[in-house]
Amino acid sequence: MTDTVLANLSRFIATHILRQPDRTLFADDKLISGGLIDSFHLIDLSLHIEKEFGVRLDDTELNPQTFDTLGELAALIEQRRAG
């Protein structure tokens, strides 16, 4: 299940944020502190997550304290969906 969430997020980030559609992101890629997602695109990521998975991340959660790597983000989504 996590793999699907992870693959979906990887595809979205590669295509819409990095504009490198043939790139694959890995679970330990640092999204925020590694500079893959700048602050202007955090909202895109959060809108996508809400639309795809029905999980709303509050704007106060869009920071590396809540998630930094792709794996952490996928796990957070899984956890919210289960709860």
Partner: protein
């Protein structure tokens, strides 16, 4: 009234309980700071700086995030007759080494006496301040209430010609070029600009702009505070994660005035959920001024379409041409009447550098938004390459004269002398005049503007050039306008010896990371090319504009 401190002091005496700032922070209740609070809170910092031995006329650097300590330390510095300069705070994305290098560069030129920051950040500042002019590092958390201690208010007796504040743009280049503004220049701007926007006692300013940028510092902070116009102040950090909060703030506080960079129109129009706008009423908004990056008709249209159902009046969309060197505004449009849209022939614009009026139905036309008329105390001229004045509708460099202009670039008489010609300040912006209104069409300088933030391409090229595998000195950075986002995107082209695709991708990733962590600029595209791809000028420099054209031809927009 001669100094900013006198005005602040008078406001606190005349209307101590009048709300000056409503401070909004995510996850916290809104906080109201009155006119009296600004002086009282400020005096704590004035006293702390005085006790630490900082002298009037010395520079105090503020490295604080959005919040009460930033507001109080700024006004405290003004009251004490010190010269505050607000710096962006280090974010998690930026590498601490690079930030330290930037701070060191800033200290070298500006030679501040003191820095105010948080306890957690103090070691960082101390490391950067080693062997510098900085004598005092004040920890915001440790600043004690001034109470009944006597504080001498040197700010009240400064001369109108004294420098009151420094403004820097970002990056190594920007940090070494502090725009020094005198009390008199700031007052001239406040008076002329208040008239230009027909400021009244019923106005309420709503702003999320950072205070280290001229638009945020002047329009979104000093202007409302000193004119006793209530200011609803949000953090840029909160806004970018929840743009709907701007609409909530306008609706709840009956906001009338805001300033936004062009990209923010697109950002708000595209990235706010419908349900986050439930019950919102934007009918109080009377002027939203597009400012600080090229203004697009399409961005206004998009914003109006999205928010008219929530009470936005389309005629509230206004425009402004501004720069730190003129304190803030040069011209303002869209207040008395809607913003003029100049429909011109595209071919004449591109090949003859002229703005020839065209019929709106004609093919091949451009729609340019007017930046309005110059302020009453600012004169605008258009100059050709030999710096001779050009007639109406001819495109050239915009030059200014007036009494809001900078005193100079702080401790850089060389740069100050270069910036003026025959008593006119050369803006480096390109544009034209038509029927007394200013149109800004581009830039003479190689400057990239992303989301209203000025970026010097040389800073990015230097960072990219540090990546192993990049051929030394063979990097070009430039901006490409993105219609969807309504702002420029940064493109970096770098030459590498390797032909291997995997290796090139690795280099591209490394450049992206290096530049982001080194400058906090998000690089949208990195293209690694073979040797001798980049075009050079006759003097052997990388020709950015020519390489931009070549990039667009070969790799598309």
């Amino acid at each position: 009234m001669h100094t900013l401190a006198q005005r602040l002091w008078q406001n606190a005496n005349d209307s101590p309980d009048r709300p000056a700032i409503y401070l909004l922070q995510a996850g916290q209740p809104d906080q109201t700071l009155t006119c009296r609070d600004l002086v009282r809170g400020g005096l704590d910092y004035t006293l702390a700086l005085q006790q630490a031995g900082v002298q009037p006329g010395e520079v105090v650097i503020l490295i604080l995030q959005h919040g009460a300590p930033l507001i109080y330390s700024f006004w405290g510095a003004v009251l004490g007759g010190f010269i505050p300069a607000i710096m962006p705070f280090l974010t998690e994305k930026l590498s601490p080494e690079k930030y330290r290098r930037d701070l060191t560069a800033l200290f070298e030129i500006t030679r501040p006496a003191a820095v105010i920051t948080y306890r957690a950040f103090e070691p960082e500042v101390r490391a950067a301040a080693l062997n510098s002019s900085v004598r005092v590092i004040l920890v915001a958390e440790a600043v004690a209430p001034a109470g009944a201690d006597s504080v001498s208010l040197a700010g009240l007796t400064r001369s109108p010609e004294d420098i009151v504040v420094l403004q820097h743009s970002s990056g190594t280049t920007g940090l070494q070029k502090g725009v020094a503004l005198a009390h008199r220049a700031v007052f001239s701007q406040l008076e002329a600009y208040s008239r230009a926007i027909r400021l009244t006692r019923d106005d309420v300013v709503v702003s999320w702009l950072p205070l280290y940028h001229d638009m945020g510092l002047i329009a979104g902070f000093i202007l409302p505070v000193l004119t006793r116009t209530p200011l609803v102040l949000m953090s840029p950090f909160d806004w970018v994660r929840a743009p709907y909060k701007l609409m909530h703030a306008v609706s709840r506080y009956r906001g009338t005035l805001s300033w936004l960079p062009n990209f923010a129109y697109n950002f708000c129009a595209q990235k706010i959920r419908d349900r986050d706008l439930d019950g919102i009423d934007l009918s109080s908004w009377r002027a939203i001024s597009n400012c600080s990056e090229p203004m697009r008709w399409e961005s206004h249209r998009m914003f109006a379409e999205r928010f008219t159902p929530y009470g936005l009046r389309p005629e509230a969309l206004a425009t402004c041409y501004a720069m730190a060197e003129n304190v803030f505004a040069v011209s303002q449009g869209g207040i008395e009447s809607p913003v003029t849209v100049d429909v011109i022939e595209a071919p004449a614009f591109f090949s003859e550098r002229r703005a020839v009026p065209a019929s709106p139905e004609a093919p091949n036309v451009l729609r340019l938004l007017s930046a309005g008329r110059p302020l009453e105390n600012t004169r605008v001229r258009i100059l050709d390459d030999q710096r001779r004045e050009l007639p109406e509708r001819c495109i050239g460099e915009i030059a200014l004269q007036g009494d809001c202009l900078l005193t100079g670039f702080y401790n850089r008489p060389d740069l100050t002398a270069q910036a003026f010609h025959d008593g006119w300040y050369l803006t480096g912006d390109l544009g034209y005049l038509a029927n007394g209104e200013v149109y800004v069409t581009g830039r003479k300088k190689d400057l990239i503007i992303v989301g209203g933030k000025n970026i010097y391409p040389g800073d990015l090229e230097a960072l990219a050039g540090e990546v192993p595998g990049v051929y030394p000195g063979r990097v070009a950075a430039f901006g490409v306008f993105d219609e969807v986002q309504g702002t420029e995107e940064v493109v970096i082209v770098a030459e590498a010896e390797t032909q291997d695709e995997g290796e090139r991708r690795r280099i591209a990733d490394a450049i992206r990371e290096r530049v982001t962590r080194g400058s906090e600029v998000a690089v949208r595209r990195v293209q690694v090319v073979g040797l001798r791809w980049l075009l050079k000028t006759s003097s052997g420099k990388i020709a950015r504009a020519a390489n931009r054209e070549k990039f667009l031809r070969e790799f598309g927009a």
